[in-house]
Protein backbone atom coordinates (compact mmCIF):
# COMPACT_ATOMS: atom_id res chain seq x y z
CA UNK A 1 0.00 0.00 0.00
CA UNK A 2 2.92 2.34 0.68
CA UNK A 3 3.81 2.50 -3.02
CA UNK A 4 0.82 4.79 -3.40
CA UNK A 5 2.11 8.36 -2.66
CA UNK A 6 -1.14 9.41 -1.02
CA UNK A 7 -1.06 6.44 1.34
CA UNK A 8 2.56 7.22 2.23
CA UNK A 9 1.69 10.79 3.19
CA UNK A 10 -1.25 9.51 5.18
CA UNK A 11 0.93 6.99 6.94
CA UNK A 12 3.43 9.72 7.88
CA UNK A 13 0.61 11.89 9.18
CA UNK A 14 -0.71 9.00 11.26
CA UNK A 15 2.72 8.45 12.66
CA UNK A 16 3.06 12.11 13.63
CA UNK A 17 -0.34 12.09 15.34
CA UNK A 18 0.48 8.86 17.13
CA UNK A 19 3.75 10.26 18.47
CA UNK A 20 2.18 13.52 19.59
CA UNK A 21 -0.61 11.60 21.29
CA UNK A 22 1.90 9.42 23.13
CA UNK A 23 3.91 12.42 24.33
CA UNK A 24 1.03 14.69 25.29
CA UNK A 25 0.99 13.72 28.97
CA UNK A 26 4.74 13.79 29.46
CA UNK A 27 6.19 15.90 32.24
CA UNK A 28 7.99 18.73 30.41
CA UNK A 29 11.69 19.54 30.68
CA UNK A 30 12.78 23.17 31.04
CA UNK A 31 16.34 24.42 30.44
CA UNK A 32 17.61 27.94 31.12
CA UNK A 33 20.92 29.69 31.21
CA UNK A 34 21.91 31.46 34.42
CA UNK A 35 24.94 33.48 35.37
CA UNK A 36 27.21 30.51 36.21
CA UNK A 37 25.96 27.94 33.73
CA UNK A 38 22.93 26.04 32.52
CA UNK A 39 20.14 24.36 34.45
CA UNK A 40 17.84 21.56 33.22
CA UNK A 41 14.78 20.76 35.29
CA UNK A 42 11.91 18.32 35.16
CA UNK A 43 9.91 16.06 37.42
CA UNK A 44 9.61 12.33 37.16
CA UNK A 45 7.72 9.64 39.00
CA UNK A 46 10.37 7.05 38.10
CA UNK A 47 13.20 6.82 35.57
CA UNK A 48 15.85 9.50 35.34
CA UNK A 49 15.45 12.01 32.51
CA UNK A 50 18.46 14.36 32.71
CA UNK A 51 21.91 12.99 31.80
CA UNK A 52 25.52 13.87 31.12
CA UNK A 53 26.79 13.23 27.60
CA UNK A 54 30.22 14.81 27.51
CA UNK A 55 32.32 17.31 29.46
CA UNK A 56 30.14 20.32 28.68
CA UNK A 57 27.08 18.68 27.10
CA UNK A 58 23.94 17.33 28.75
CA UNK A 59 20.81 15.63 27.49
CA UNK A 60 17.22 15.35 28.66
CA UNK A 61 14.33 13.58 27.02
CA UNK A 62 10.68 12.69 27.37
CA UNK A 63 9.10 9.59 25.92
CA UNK A 64 9.61 5.86 26.16
CA UNK A 65 12.46 5.00 28.57
CA UNK A 66 13.95 2.40 26.21
CA UNK A 67 14.05 4.88 23.31
CA UNK A 68 15.51 7.56 25.58
CA UNK A 69 18.20 5.09 26.57
CA UNK A 70 19.00 4.26 22.93
CA UNK A 71 19.42 7.94 22.07
CA UNK A 72 21.49 8.64 25.16
CA UNK A 73 23.83 5.74 24.38
CA UNK A 74 24.11 6.84 20.76
CA UNK A 75 25.11 10.37 21.79
CA UNK A 76 27.63 9.15 24.37
CA UNK A 77 29.21 6.77 21.84
CA UNK A 78 29.51 9.42 19.13
CA UNK A 79 30.87 12.06 21.53
CA UNK A 80 33.49 9.75 23.05
CA UNK A 81 34.71 8.38 19.74
CA UNK A 82 35.07 11.95 18.45
CA UNK A 83 36.81 13.01 21.64
CA UNK A 84 39.21 10.08 21.40
CA UNK A 85 40.02 10.35 17.70
CA UNK A 86 40.29 14.15 17.69
CA UNK A 87 40.14 16.04 20.97
CA UNK A 88 37.63 16.99 23.64
CA UNK A 89 37.41 20.50 22.17
CA UNK A 90 36.17 19.05 18.87
CA UNK A 91 33.10 17.56 20.51
CA UNK A 92 30.31 20.10 20.25
CA UNK A 93 26.55 20.12 20.40
CA UNK A 94 25.97 21.45 16.91
CA UNK A 95 27.81 18.53 15.30
CA UNK A 96 26.24 15.98 17.64
CA UNK A 97 22.76 17.14 16.64
CA UNK A 98 23.33 17.85 12.95
CA UNK A 99 25.36 14.76 12.13
CA UNK A 100 24.66 12.45 15.05
CA UNK A 101 21.20 12.22 16.53
CA UNK A 102 18.88 14.05 14.08
CA UNK A 103 19.59 11.96 10.95
CA UNK A 104 19.10 8.73 12.92
CA UNK A 105 15.78 9.86 14.39
CA UNK A 106 14.64 11.03 10.95
CA UNK A 107 15.62 7.72 9.37
CA UNK A 108 13.59 5.78 11.95
CA UNK A 109 10.63 8.13 11.47
CA UNK A 110 10.69 7.68 7.67
CA UNK A 111 10.93 3.91 7.84
CA UNK A 112 7.23 3.10 8.03
CA UNK A 113 7.67 -0.58 8.81
CA UNK A 114 9.81 0.20 11.86
CA UNK A 115 8.87 1.77 15.14
CA UNK A 116 9.97 5.42 15.33
CA UNK A 117 11.80 6.79 18.36
CA UNK A 118 9.11 7.67 20.83
CA UNK A 119 11.11 10.53 22.31
CA UNK A 120 11.58 14.28 22.16
CA UNK A 121 15.04 15.41 23.20
CA UNK A 122 16.64 18.53 24.61
CA UNK A 123 20.40 19.01 24.53
CA UNK A 124 22.43 21.76 26.17
CA UNK A 125 26.02 22.89 25.80
CA UNK A 126 27.91 25.19 28.15
CA UNK A 127 29.58 28.10 26.33
CA UNK A 128 29.41 26.79 22.75
CA UNK A 129 32.13 28.00 20.38
CA UNK A 130 31.73 29.32 16.83
CA UNK A 131 28.46 31.09 17.68
CA UNK A 132 26.77 27.73 18.24
CA UNK A 133 23.47 27.46 20.08
CA UNK A 134 23.37 26.64 23.78
CA UNK A 135 20.26 24.50 23.32
CA UNK A 136 18.80 22.18 20.71
CA UNK A 137 15.47 20.42 20.79
CA UNK A 138 14.94 17.41 18.54
CA UNK A 139 11.45 16.20 17.61
CA UNK A 140 10.48 12.57 16.99
CA UNK A 141 10.54 13.22 13.22
CA UNK A 142 14.18 14.37 13.38
CA UNK A 143 13.38 18.05 13.02
CA UNK A 144 15.55 20.17 15.30
CA UNK A 145 15.72 23.74 16.48
CA UNK A 146 18.49 25.72 18.17
CA UNK A 147 18.13 28.46 20.78
CA UNK A 148 20.38 30.45 23.07
CA UNK A 149 18.62 31.50 26.26
CA UNK A 150 16.15 28.78 27.14
CA UNK A 151 14.44 25.71 25.70
CA UNK A 152 11.68 23.29 26.62
CA UNK A 153 10.28 19.95 25.55
CA UNK A 154 6.88 18.46 26.25
CA UNK A 155 3.62 18.32 24.36
CA UNK A 156 3.01 21.12 21.83
CA UNK A 157 0.72 23.00 24.23
CA UNK A 158 3.17 22.57 27.13
CA UNK A 159 6.02 24.03 25.11
CA UNK A 160 3.90 27.00 24.08
CA UNK A 161 2.91 27.67 27.68
CA UNK A 162 6.47 27.33 29.02
CA UNK A 163 7.93 29.61 26.38
CA UNK A 164 5.36 32.27 27.08
CA UNK A 165 6.24 32.15 30.80
CA UNK A 166 9.98 32.24 30.12
CA UNK A 167 9.69 35.73 28.67
CA UNK A 168 10.56 36.73 32.24
CA UNK A 169 13.91 35.02 31.74
CA UNK A 170 17.15 36.83 32.67
CA UNK A 171 20.53 35.29 31.79
CA UNK A 172 22.18 37.20 34.66
CA UNK A 173 20.05 35.57 37.33
CA UNK A 174 21.49 33.47 40.14
CA UNK A 175 21.07 29.71 40.31
CA UNK A 176 18.29 29.99 42.89
CA UNK A 177 16.34 32.49 40.75
CA UNK A 178 16.86 30.34 37.65
CA UNK A 179 15.69 27.27 39.57
CA UNK A 180 12.54 29.05 40.71
CA UNK A 181 11.88 30.32 37.18
CA UNK A 182 12.41 26.87 35.64
CA UNK A 183 10.17 25.17 38.23
CA UNK A 184 7.40 27.71 37.67
CA UNK A 185 7.81 27.36 33.89
CA UNK A 186 7.54 23.60 34.31
CA UNK A 187 4.30 24.13 36.27
CA UNK A 188 2.95 26.24 33.41
CA UNK A 189 3.78 23.46 30.97
CA UNK A 190 2.20 20.81 33.16
CA UNK A 191 -0.86 22.99 33.74
CA UNK A 192 -1.32 23.30 29.98
CA UNK A 193 -1.65 19.53 29.57
CA UNK A 194 -5.12 19.61 31.13
CA UNK A 195 -6.02 23.25 30.75
CA UNK A 196 -4.95 25.03 27.58
CA UNK A 197 -3.99 28.26 29.37
CA UNK A 198 -0.60 29.58 28.41
CA UNK A 199 2.04 30.56 30.98
CA UNK A 200 1.71 34.31 30.76
CA UNK A 201 -1.99 34.08 31.60
CA UNK A 202 -1.31 32.37 34.93
CA UNK A 203 -0.79 34.41 38.09
CA UNK A 204 2.03 33.65 40.51
CA UNK A 205 -0.52 32.42 43.02
CA UNK A 206 -2.08 30.09 40.42
CA UNK A 207 1.34 28.61 39.75
CA UNK A 208 2.27 28.25 43.43
CA UNK A 209 -1.05 26.63 44.18
CA UNK A 210 -0.67 24.26 41.23
CA UNK A 211 2.84 23.32 42.34
CA UNK A 212 1.67 22.63 45.89
CA UNK A 213 -1.03 20.29 44.57
CA UNK A 214 0.94 18.59 41.81
CA UNK A 215 4.47 18.17 43.06
CA UNK A 216 3.66 15.38 45.53
CA UNK A 217 4.32 12.00 44.03
CA UNK A 218 6.95 13.41 41.70
CA UNK A 219 10.67 13.77 42.15
CA UNK A 220 12.14 17.07 40.98
CA UNK A 221 15.18 16.30 38.85
CA UNK A 222 17.69 19.03 38.15
CA UNK A 223 21.03 18.79 36.34
CA UNK A 224 23.48 21.67 35.99
CA UNK A 225 26.41 22.47 33.75
CA UNK A 226 28.61 24.60 35.99
CA UNK A 227 31.21 26.88 34.43
CA UNK A 228 33.26 27.05 37.65
CA UNK A 229 33.39 23.30 38.24
CA UNK A 230 37.06 22.41 38.86
CA UNK A 231 36.76 19.14 36.94
CA UNK A 232 36.81 18.48 33.19
CA UNK A 233 33.25 17.34 33.41
CA UNK A 234 30.97 20.30 34.08
CA UNK A 235 27.76 18.32 34.64
CA UNK A 236 26.32 17.60 38.07
CA UNK A 237 23.00 16.14 39.10
CA UNK A 238 21.57 17.93 42.12
CA UNK A 239 21.27 15.49 45.03
CA UNK A 240 18.04 14.94 46.95
CA UNK A 241 19.45 16.61 50.08
CA UNK A 242 20.70 19.60 48.12
CA UNK A 243 17.33 19.84 46.37
CA UNK A 244 15.51 20.21 49.70
CA UNK A 245 17.71 23.18 50.62
CA UNK A 246 17.29 24.78 47.17
CA UNK A 247 13.49 24.43 47.22
CA UNK A 248 13.36 26.01 50.66
CA UNK A 249 15.60 28.87 49.60
CA UNK A 250 13.78 29.45 46.30
CA UNK A 251 10.39 29.45 48.06
CA UNK A 252 8.66 28.37 44.87
CA UNK A 253 5.65 26.82 46.61
Amino acid sequence: MLEDPYRWVEAVRNRREYLEDQLKNASPVVAVRYIDGILLLTTTPGPRKVFEIYNQISFASIGHPADIEKLRKLLIDVAHIEGFNLSASDVNLSRLVNFGIAPIIKEAFDDLIRSPYLARALLAELDPVNDGHSFYTVDPDGNFEGSNDFAAIGSDCSIKSIKSYLRRYNAESSFISAFDLALRAWACGRFAVDDKSVGEELSDEDISSFLRQQIHGYRIECGVLERQAPTTSKFRLISIDEMKVIIKEAGSF
Partner: protein, 251 residues
Protein backbone atom coordinates in the same frame (compact mmCIF):
# COMPACT_ATOMS: atom_id res chain seq x y z
CA UNK B 1 23.13 -5.53 26.56
CA UNK B 2 25.75 -3.37 24.86
CA UNK B 3 29.29 -3.49 26.15
CA UNK B 4 30.19 -0.75 28.61
CA UNK B 5 33.85 -1.01 27.67
CA UNK B 6 35.33 1.89 25.72
CA UNK B 7 37.91 -0.34 24.04
CA UNK B 8 35.12 -2.58 22.76
CA UNK B 9 33.37 0.48 21.33
CA UNK B 10 36.53 1.62 19.57
CA UNK B 11 37.11 -1.88 18.21
CA UNK B 12 33.50 -2.19 17.02
CA UNK B 13 33.70 1.14 15.18
CA UNK B 14 37.12 0.38 13.70
CA UNK B 15 38.85 3.12 15.68
CA UNK B 16 41.21 0.99 17.73
CA UNK B 17 44.75 1.01 16.31
CA UNK B 18 45.94 -2.42 15.13
CA UNK B 19 48.01 -4.30 17.63
CA UNK B 20 51.71 -4.18 16.79
CA UNK B 21 53.30 -7.53 16.07
CA UNK B 22 56.91 -8.35 16.92
CA UNK B 23 59.41 -7.10 14.34
CA UNK B 24 63.17 -7.34 14.39
CA UNK B 25 64.02 -3.66 14.09
CA UNK B 26 64.60 -2.54 17.66
CA UNK B 27 68.33 -2.05 17.09
CA UNK B 28 67.72 0.71 14.53
CA UNK B 29 65.31 2.61 16.75
CA UNK B 30 66.04 4.58 19.87
CA UNK B 31 62.97 5.44 21.88
CA UNK B 32 62.46 8.49 24.07
CA UNK B 33 62.45 7.55 27.74
CA UNK B 34 64.10 8.14 31.14
CA UNK B 35 62.23 9.26 34.21
CA UNK B 36 61.79 9.11 37.93
CA UNK B 37 58.26 8.96 39.27
CA UNK B 38 57.29 8.29 42.84
CA UNK B 39 54.30 8.24 45.14
CA UNK B 40 54.08 8.29 48.91
CA UNK B 41 51.16 7.65 51.18
CA UNK B 42 50.85 10.24 53.91
CA UNK B 43 48.32 11.39 56.50
CA UNK B 44 45.89 13.07 54.06
CA UNK B 45 46.16 10.74 51.07
CA UNK B 46 48.82 10.24 48.43
CA UNK B 47 51.38 12.56 46.88
CA UNK B 48 52.57 11.69 43.38
CA UNK B 49 55.55 13.34 41.70
CA UNK B 50 57.45 13.10 38.46
CA UNK B 51 60.40 14.93 36.93
CA UNK B 52 59.97 16.79 33.64
CA UNK B 53 62.80 15.40 31.49
CA UNK B 54 62.49 13.18 28.40
CA UNK B 55 65.69 11.67 26.98
CA UNK B 56 66.75 9.63 23.96
CA UNK B 57 69.99 7.85 24.83
CA UNK B 58 72.27 10.56 26.17
CA UNK B 59 70.30 13.38 24.52
CA UNK B 60 67.83 15.50 26.47
CA UNK B 61 64.85 15.78 24.13
CA UNK B 62 62.46 17.79 26.27
CA UNK B 63 62.51 19.37 29.71
CA UNK B 64 58.86 20.14 30.28
CA UNK B 65 57.17 16.74 29.96
CA UNK B 66 54.15 16.16 32.20
CA UNK B 67 54.39 12.68 33.68
CA UNK B 68 51.65 12.86 36.30
CA UNK B 69 48.27 12.81 34.59
CA UNK B 70 44.81 13.10 36.21
CA UNK B 71 42.52 10.25 35.18
CA UNK B 72 39.35 11.24 37.01
CA UNK B 73 38.28 13.07 40.18
CA UNK B 74 39.91 10.44 42.39
CA UNK B 75 42.98 9.14 40.60
CA UNK B 76 46.20 10.06 38.81
CA UNK B 77 48.59 8.06 36.67
CA UNK B 78 52.33 8.68 36.81
CA UNK B 79 54.16 7.39 33.75
CA UNK B 80 57.68 6.17 33.17
CA UNK B 81 58.99 4.72 29.94
CA UNK B 82 58.10 5.53 26.36
CA UNK B 83 56.04 8.76 26.37
CA UNK B 84 54.17 8.03 23.12
CA UNK B 85 52.74 4.81 24.50
CA UNK B 86 52.40 6.09 28.04
CA UNK B 87 50.34 9.13 27.02
CA UNK B 88 48.13 6.95 24.85
CA UNK B 89 47.58 4.52 27.72
CA UNK B 90 46.75 7.39 30.07
CA UNK B 91 44.33 8.88 27.55
CA UNK B 92 42.68 5.53 26.89
CA UNK B 93 42.28 4.91 30.64
CA UNK B 94 40.83 8.38 31.20
CA UNK B 95 38.34 7.92 28.37
CA UNK B 96 37.42 4.41 29.57
CA UNK B 97 36.64 5.66 33.07
CA UNK B 98 34.61 8.61 31.78
CA UNK B 99 32.76 6.48 29.24
CA UNK B 100 31.82 3.94 31.87
CA UNK B 101 30.58 6.61 34.29
CA UNK B 102 28.48 8.37 31.68
CA UNK B 103 27.05 5.31 29.96
CA UNK B 104 26.41 3.18 33.06
CA UNK B 105 25.40 6.09 35.35
CA UNK B 106 27.78 4.92 38.05
CA UNK B 107 31.49 5.19 38.77
CA UNK B 108 33.82 2.42 37.70
CA UNK B 109 34.94 0.50 40.78
CA UNK B 110 38.51 0.61 42.03
CA UNK B 111 39.06 -2.96 40.82
CA UNK B 112 37.57 -2.04 37.46
CA UNK B 113 40.04 0.84 37.04
CA UNK B 114 42.98 -1.36 38.01
CA UNK B 115 41.87 -4.06 35.59
CA UNK B 116 41.39 -1.55 32.74
CA UNK B 117 44.95 -0.31 33.16
CA UNK B 118 46.23 -3.86 33.38
CA UNK B 119 44.58 -4.72 30.04
CA UNK B 120 46.06 -1.67 28.36
CA UNK B 121 49.55 -2.60 29.54
CA UNK B 122 49.14 -6.18 28.42
CA UNK B 123 48.05 -5.02 24.96
CA UNK B 124 51.31 -3.10 24.77
CA UNK B 125 53.43 -6.18 25.43
CA UNK B 126 54.72 -6.60 21.83
CA UNK B 127 56.05 -3.04 21.83
CA UNK B 128 57.57 -3.48 25.29
CA UNK B 129 59.25 -6.74 24.24
CA UNK B 130 60.88 -4.95 21.33
CA UNK B 131 62.42 -2.46 23.70
CA UNK B 132 60.73 0.56 22.18
CA UNK B 133 57.49 1.02 24.08
CA UNK B 134 57.82 -0.21 27.64
CA UNK B 135 55.66 1.64 30.15
CA UNK B 136 55.79 1.11 33.94
CA UNK B 137 53.19 3.35 35.55
CA UNK B 138 52.21 4.14 39.11
CA UNK B 139 48.49 4.52 39.67
CA UNK B 140 47.43 6.43 42.79
CA UNK B 141 43.85 6.89 43.85
CA UNK B 142 41.66 7.75 46.77
CA UNK B 143 39.52 4.81 47.86
CA UNK B 144 36.30 6.38 49.15
CA UNK B 145 34.96 3.10 50.53
CA UNK B 146 37.92 2.90 52.96
CA UNK B 147 38.64 6.65 53.07
CA UNK B 148 42.35 6.22 52.35
CA UNK B 149 44.75 6.89 49.50
CA UNK B 150 46.22 3.87 47.74
CA UNK B 151 49.22 3.32 45.48
CA UNK B 152 49.44 0.62 42.81
CA UNK B 153 52.22 -0.30 40.41
CA UNK B 154 52.45 -2.66 37.47
CA UNK B 155 54.90 -4.84 35.63
CA UNK B 156 55.26 -5.01 31.85
CA UNK B 157 52.72 -7.83 31.59
CA UNK B 158 50.07 -5.86 33.45
CA UNK B 159 50.28 -7.53 36.86
CA UNK B 160 48.99 -5.20 39.60
CA UNK B 161 50.70 -4.71 42.98
CA UNK B 162 49.67 -2.49 45.85
CA UNK B 163 52.35 -0.50 47.59
CA UNK B 164 51.79 0.18 51.27
CA UNK B 165 53.95 3.23 51.99
CA UNK B 166 55.73 4.38 48.85
CA UNK B 167 56.55 3.39 45.31
CA UNK B 168 59.02 4.61 42.72
CA UNK B 169 59.79 3.52 39.15
CA UNK B 170 61.87 4.77 36.24
CA UNK B 171 65.58 5.08 35.61
CA UNK B 172 66.29 7.02 38.81
CA UNK B 173 64.12 4.93 41.08
CA UNK B 174 66.85 2.61 42.36
CA UNK B 175 68.77 5.64 43.61
CA UNK B 176 66.01 6.80 45.96
CA UNK B 177 64.33 3.54 46.89
CA UNK B 178 66.79 2.99 49.73
CA UNK B 179 66.48 6.59 50.85
CA UNK B 180 62.70 6.29 50.94
CA UNK B 181 62.94 3.10 52.97
CA UNK B 182 65.34 4.79 55.39
CA UNK B 183 63.10 7.84 55.78
CA UNK B 184 60.07 5.67 56.39
CA UNK B 185 61.76 3.22 58.77
CA UNK B 186 64.14 5.42 60.75
CA UNK B 187 63.11 8.98 59.99
CA UNK B 188 61.61 11.20 62.71
CA UNK B 189 58.11 10.66 61.32
CA UNK B 190 57.05 7.67 59.19
CA UNK B 191 55.67 8.62 55.75
CA UNK B 192 52.11 7.58 56.65
CA UNK B 193 52.06 10.03 59.60
CA UNK B 194 53.55 13.01 57.79
CA UNK B 195 51.44 16.11 57.32
CA UNK B 196 51.09 17.75 53.92
CA UNK B 197 54.11 20.05 54.29
CA UNK B 198 56.48 17.31 55.46
CA UNK B 199 55.33 14.86 52.81
CA UNK B 200 55.70 17.48 50.09
CA UNK B 201 59.23 18.35 51.23
CA UNK B 202 60.17 14.68 51.32
CA UNK B 203 58.87 13.83 47.85
CA UNK B 204 60.44 16.88 46.19
CA UNK B 205 63.80 16.28 47.85
CA UNK B 206 63.74 12.60 46.83
CA UNK B 207 63.16 13.65 43.24
CA UNK B 208 66.06 16.07 43.43
CA UNK B 209 68.24 13.28 44.80
CA UNK B 210 67.33 11.07 41.85
CA UNK B 211 68.13 13.90 39.45
CA UNK B 212 71.54 14.35 41.04
CA UNK B 213 72.65 10.81 40.19
CA UNK B 214 70.52 9.89 37.15
CA UNK B 215 71.14 11.85 33.96
CA UNK B 216 67.76 10.81 32.56
CA UNK B 217 65.93 12.49 35.46
CA UNK B 218 65.57 16.25 35.30
CA UNK B 219 66.08 18.40 38.39
CA UNK B 220 64.41 21.71 39.01
CA UNK B 221 65.70 24.66 37.07
CA UNK B 222 65.16 28.01 38.79
CA UNK B 223 66.38 29.99 35.75
CA UNK B 224 63.90 28.44 33.33
CA UNK B 225 61.29 27.95 36.07
CA UNK B 226 61.03 24.23 35.48
CA UNK B 227 59.64 22.46 38.53
CA UNK B 228 58.63 18.83 38.95
CA UNK B 229 54.98 17.89 38.66
CA UNK B 230 53.45 17.00 42.02
CA UNK B 231 49.82 16.10 42.60
CA UNK B 232 47.78 15.53 45.72
CA UNK B 233 45.25 12.70 45.80
CA UNK B 234 43.02 13.33 48.78
CA UNK B 235 39.48 13.10 49.98
CA UNK B 236 38.78 16.54 48.46
CA UNK B 237 39.89 15.30 45.03
CA UNK B 238 42.92 15.79 42.82
CA UNK B 239 44.96 18.98 42.93
CA UNK B 240 48.26 20.06 41.48
CA UNK B 241 50.88 21.52 43.81
CA UNK B 242 51.56 25.09 42.71
CA UNK B 243 54.94 26.34 41.51
CA UNK B 244 54.99 28.79 44.43
CA UNK B 245 54.78 25.93 46.92
CA UNK B 246 57.53 24.02 45.13
CA UNK B 247 59.68 27.13 44.93
CA UNK B 248 59.37 27.64 48.68
CA UNK B 249 60.83 24.17 49.21
CA UNK B 250 63.45 24.11 46.47
CA UNK B 251 64.48 27.71 46.79
Amino acid sequence: MDSCDFLDLLREKGNLPDEVSLVNSAEKFQSIEGTTILAIRYRDGVLVAGDRRATMGNVVVYDRAEKVIPIDDDSVLAISGSPAIAYEIARMLEMSVQYYRRSQLQDLSLDGKLRSLSRLLRQNLPMAMQGVGAVIPIYALFDRSEDIGKIFFYDLLGATFESVDFCTTGSGSHIIRGALYYANRWGDVPLAKMDDKMALETIVKMLETAAEYDTATGGYNSTSLIYPTVMRVRTDGISKVSEEELKSILG
